[in-house]
Symmetry: C2
Subunit: 219 residues, 2 copies
Amino acid sequence: MEIQVMKAIMEDNISRAENLRKLFKEKKVLVLNLISSPGSGKTSLLEKTIRNLKNEYSIGVIEGDITTSRDAERLQQFDIPQVVINTDGACHLNSMSIEKALNEFDLDLIDLLFIENVGNLVCPSEFDIGESAKIAMVSTTEGDDKPAKYPLLFQEAETVLLNKTDLIPYVNFKKDLFYRDLKAINTDIKIIETSCTTEEGLEEWYGWVRKKINDLEVR
Amino acid sequence: MEIQVMKAIMEDNISRAENLRKLFKEKKVLVLNLISSPGSGKTSLLEKTIRNLKNEYSIGVIEGDITTSRDAERLQQFDIPQVVINTDGACHLNSMSIEKALNEFDLDLIDLLFIENVGNLVCPSEFDIGESAKIAMVSTTEGDDKPAKYPLLFQEAETVLLNKTDLIPYVNFKKDLFYRDLKAINTDIKIIETSCTTEEGLEEWYGWVRKKINDLEVR
């Protein structure tokens, strides 16, 4: 019985996600679902990315947070539409919460929608929310074993940002092991090494985002 | 209906946890449930702690991991009883999995049992597994906002280890904000600043563990 209910929740989530994906395609909105452990640097990446791309594209943000609006407050400096989803203890966003949040946006006016998921390397990977792509973020301080230990996210993600590369000299992080495990899980995955402190790799990241938006426009 | 099923799961977990807690008290085993984000340093702490306390106490470990036994492999260097619980995708340990793991231990021979939960700052806090105390770990590289953003763990934990203090010079971590938020959530919480690299604070941590074991013996 428990399994049946779980299935119903999952099926409902999937069908809503498929509708969202259709809507985003129709409206030509690139939707990026950012997933990482707590404190890997998702909000710092958004700060940098919005500052750099806001004159090229119209950007919106959905912030998933268990209880506060702290991440959203960090982005208030930018004049862009933003909605916080407080999950009240839940460990991930789902399609239904995204549907509700979309009431606050005019998708005709948005090119790029970032969804910052709840800080959690496990559960958000299990819930499709209609995104164009999942972006996994891992910081070097978390250790090189994260892809092997939490494989689902890295199977699902189109791109991985290996963040906080500026801290590699101070931690025991073996890049070759990280790459080896990651490629074993997902041969096609794109890896971009970034530091939101030194800005290493951010131009490559912006280039990746631009290309994805162009691909949508051409279709 | 969904909520009823969830309640049944929760109630079953709680009653099993209460039985486990009784058993641990009777057998005078200190059971510490280690909870943190992925890569905060739980296994590194165990490596240091086991090396330092194994001649004083008889120690066992339960390793919660989604799919691998990598953490357990790091502890194989010590000749201590160890069980890995692979959660197969689940984001936390529960009482039933601990019950099963206990079949592999002789509790009459154990003073101190560490349970390293799945790397996740959210879900493990919601599931009592009969532990004597929850130990929260946060690394400085995750940012000073973690207690405010993930309050449940810090309400539940008896002690917080603020780990990777050696990296404070390289990251933007405001200790006063961290302490302020933490004390607002849980005035009684004990905070120990640690670095498994420089060994700062580890003697204080070992002292805390020793005191907890003594308290059990005296009762």
